[in-house]
């Protein structure tokens, strides 16, 4: 029997999907980095293209030195893009988009820019060095503004894996002077809003068995170790941090019922997201509702459609 399967069937022409250049635009985050990255991947094709069309592009040709500079620019910008992607999620389990990750992210990028400044100094790459300085000062400007709110530090302290140890470690050099003010502001935040929960609990008197006379043994034990109100804040912050990463932050806190005021403190501050990317996602989705043929939709029905869309997906 002759097999109908000949090798011709298997050697059909396979077409490879080619990559194309992407252009940056003003509104999309990290678009310039993505554009440069794609151009570097397509470098051979671009070079060949530029050779062919040299007359039409005239002033805009790229030399080898230019390509090297583009490599450096991509190296500087890469962590920005990575951090953005890492933290733009919804943080359902308490990571990848939660507010406690903000301070470490910015500090990591500042450190990265410091390294880049050393590597590409003023004499060898003057323009890049100046640009790095500008980026650094902009980042530093907003980093200082974060000081206005103790929420960022509080959230990081409330992460059982980091507590105060993160600050003690990463702020021990040039930021040491900010350590105590930060601790005080977080403590104040706790005292203002959460201490009363601890006090309310402390005042709960465990009803003693009224029927019996006070037990001789119980009285002796009470004399030795009187039950005092625990400073829950100190109890937590001075406790040992957990070393193995726990991937469900909120469930860990749900188990800490012996420190209810810290529990509430943690629920309130660890549920804050790092970015307002969700609103951007909503707007992007709403664009699809208002298509060319549905241009006359009014605001009332647009709100109903988009909200319903989101609520149905969230199973509400």
């Amino acid at each position: 029997m002759v097999s109908r399967l000949s090798s011709d069937c298997f050697h059909s022409k396979l077409t490879v999907v080619d990559l194309f250049v992407t252009r940056d635009n003003v509104t999309r985050w990290n678009s310039s980095y993505i554009s440069i990255r794609r151009a570097l991947i397509l470098k051979p094709r671009l070079i060949a293209f530029l050779i062919q069309y040299a007359e039409e592009l005239e002033d805009d040709l790229l030399t080898e030195k230019d390509w090297q500079q583009l490599e450096i620019i991509a190296e500087v910008l890469e962590p920005f893009a990575e951090v953005t992607v890492h933290l733009e999620g919804r943080a359902e389990k308490g990571h990848h988009g939660s507010v406690w990750e903000v301070l470490p992210a910015i500090e990591a990028l500042i450190e990265h820019l410091d390294d880049m400044k050393l590597k590409y100094s003023q004499c060898s790459h003057p323009e890049i060095s100046t640009s790095i300085n500008l980026a650094w000062s902009k980042l530093d400007e907003y980093y200082k503004k974060l000081d206005d709110s103790p929420a960022y530090a509080a959230a990081l302290i409330l992460h059982p894996q980091y507590r105060l140890d993160y600050f003690k470690e990463s702020w021990k050099r040039h930021l040491r002077k900010y350590l105590d003010p930060m601790k005080r502001s977080v403590r104040k935040l706790y005292n203002d809003s959460y201490l009363r929960i601890a006090q309310a609990q402390g005042q709960e008197v465990i009803p003693s068995t009224e029927s019996k006379e006070p037990d001789f043994f119980a009285l002796y034990m009470e004399k030795q170790l009187p039950s005092t109100v625990v400073d829950e804040y100190a109890d937590y912050t001075e406790g040992r941090r957990i070393t193995k990463p726990n991937h469900d932050l909120y469930n860990w806190w749900a188990a800490q019922s012996h420190i209810p005021s810290m529990q509430q403190f943690a629920y309130d501050h660890l549920s804050i997201p790092a970015m307002s990317a969700e609103t951007e996602r909503v707007f992007s989705d709403t664009k699809h509702i208002i298509s060319d043929t549905r241009y006359r939709l009014g605001p009332g029905i647009i709100e109903a459609l988009e909200c319903q869309n989101r609520w149905m997906r969230a199973d509400i």
């Binding site: 440069i36 592009l57 805009d60 003057p126 206005d148 307002s276 969700e278 707007f283 709403t286």
Partner: protein
């Protein structure tokens, strides 16, 4: 059922539909007329001819009105043999040739016949001795009465200077207050209600209310008696042979699933009117097909209603949250130029999962200032009931957001608004990256040299070099190249077709 005689008595007011011809249009109108003579048809078995006299103030017109087999009156303006003179409604009035001035009231002068050979003037049917004269009475015009503590007088219809007279004046009388006959807008008194001894008065700044009254109470519109409205789609009756019992719960499930699909797939709401879709549903479930909504407007109402219901569920979920409710908001302008404020809340729900949920996408009217945004924010927060449990605000670094947070906190009596204002990390990183690439926040290459005038010379030179490097350095040139390549499909194709010769690259 054919009638031998039109079942009204001579002298009674009837309302045949007659054709009115004007410069702009022709239409049928119910015109009060006095039935003069009842006669049998000489033309066909389908209709009867009766003789009527149109009741008008300054002109008398006689004609023939035709009653059809189903009893509806139709006006005829064709000639009729024998009988009375044709129904001529094209007598001219002062301003518009071929326009009919139709009025409602009757005065003694025009009951006298204008053409000879007509039948005798009927006497108005005896009215039970009551205070309200009938619309056909002589005493009707000029009659004064009190209604809701206002004195009204019935007047002749004032002529219109420019526009045509509305058809409502054929169905009702003009009322004015005796003290101010000229200055005010007249009111309209429904003739039919009046003849039934009821008083129905409406203002006439627009004719909507009288028209609605006539449609609802008397089932009359400009073309005469209203027929039952036809359905939106014409359905052939043959599908009705198959009948199955469909339970209410399965219909509800069907409708909910349909709505869910329409919303999640971004379908047009009028998709239920699409014939191919209907054919598909009919094929799958003939019984359920009967219950498929026929109009996109119904779907719209259902969606709005479901929205309100689900909103209550969201409010309950928020009430059961374990954490404070944090809020982020931003402004956006849609493709159809509406400004929206999008509000998303973040909280820890009762199952200890972090949620980010859209709660409102409302149109912001007025300026885009922080204060204006705060009004809308406070309204939304109170609507969803978490003003006591509001946590932090996360928004981008635009200055108006600072004010929005500040004013919102003031309205809700929250101390320390600065502490509550958190900044979107992505936006901060973006600003920093832009500062690296472009030196400014706009992300463009425009660098205003004039702003550097106050700096020292070396610094200025350094910054100018930098500006030049940005625009004409590798980043700027790469941007230009890519823009050039992407501009036309031909160039895109040329880029993809370029043969990569590695040898030539190394050499050249």
């Amino acid at each position: 059922m054919l009638r031998e005689r039109y079942p009204y008595d001579c002298g009674q007011i009837v309302y045949p539909r007659v054709e009115v011809v004007s410069t702009i249009s022709q239409y049928f109108q119910s015109v009060p007329s006095v039935l003069l003579e009842n006669c049998t048809s000489q033309y066909s078995t389908q209709s009867r001819l009766v003789l009527v006299q149109i009741v008008r103030t300054d002109r008398v017109c006689r004609g023939v009105a035709r009653v059809s087999a189903r009893g509806a009156w139709k006006g005829a303006n064709g000639a009729s043999e024998g009988a009375a003179a044709p129904f001529v409604l094209t007598e001219t009035c002062r301003h518009h040739p071929r326009t009919v001035n139709v009025t409602h009231a009757m005065s003694s002068s025009f009951l006298t016949p204008s053409t000879p050979g007509s039948s005798s003037t009927p006497s108005p049917s005896p009215w039970p001795s009551r205070s309200m004269p009938k619309t056909t009475d002589n005493a009707f015009i000029g009659w004064q009465f009190n209604h809701k503590e206002v004195r009204y007088m019935v007047c002749k219809k004032t002529a219109n200077k420019r526009s045509n007279t509305s058809w409502i004046w054929g169905e009702g009388a003009e009322l004015r207050s005796p003290g101010s006959l000229v200055s005010t807008t007249p009111k309209w008194l429904c003739s039919r209600c009046w003849d039934r001894k009821k008083v129905a008065v409406f203002g006439t700044t627009s004719t909507t209310r009288p028209i609605m009254h006539l449609a609802e109470e008397h089932s009359v519109n400009a073309d005469g008696p209203i027929e039952k409205a036809a359905s939106v789609l014409e359905f052939t009756p043959e599908g009705r042979e198959f009948r199955s019992l469909v339970s209410q719960t399965s219909v509800n499930v069907f409708n909910n699933t349909l709505i869910r699909w329409i919303i999640l797939a971004h379908l047009a709401l009028s998709c239920v009117e699409n014939l191919e879709f209907r054919a598909l549903v009919k094929l799958l479930n003939e019984g359920m097909y009967e219950y498929l909504y026929k109009s996109g407007n119904t779907i719209r109402e259902l969606i709005l209603r479901d929205f309100e219901l689900r909103k209550q569920r969201v409010i309950i979920s928020l009430a059961r949250a374990k954490s404070m409710i944090h809020i982020s908001f931003d402004l956006w302008t849609s493709g159809n130029n509406l400004a929206f404020l999008g509000v998303v809340v973040h909280y820890l729900d009762e199952t200890f999962t972090a949620r980010s949920l859209l709660i409102a996408l409302r149109q912001l009217s007025g300026p885009h200032s922080g204060e204006n945004q705060s009004f809308l924010l406070v309204e939304i927060i109170k609507e969803f009931g978490f003003e006591q449990r509001l946590g932090y605000f996360i928004c981008d670094n635009v200055a108006s957001n600072n004010f929005a947070v500040k004013f919102t906190c003031e309205s809700l009596h929250i101390k320390n608004p600065v502490q509550r204002r958190l900044r979107c990390l992505g936006h901060i990183l973006n600003l920093s990256a832009k500062a690296f690439l472009f030196g400014n926040d706009e992300g463009s290459f425009d660098f205003e040299i004039s702003k550097l005038a106050h700096l020292r010379l070396e610094v200025r030179q350094a910054l100018e070099t930098l500006a030049f490097w940005r625009k004409r350095g590798p980043i700027g040139r790469l941007h230009n190249i890519i823009t050039w390549i992407q501009r036309t499909p031909q160039r895109r194709q040329q880029f993809m077709d370029v043969t990569i010769d590695l040898a030539s690259i190394r050499n050249g």
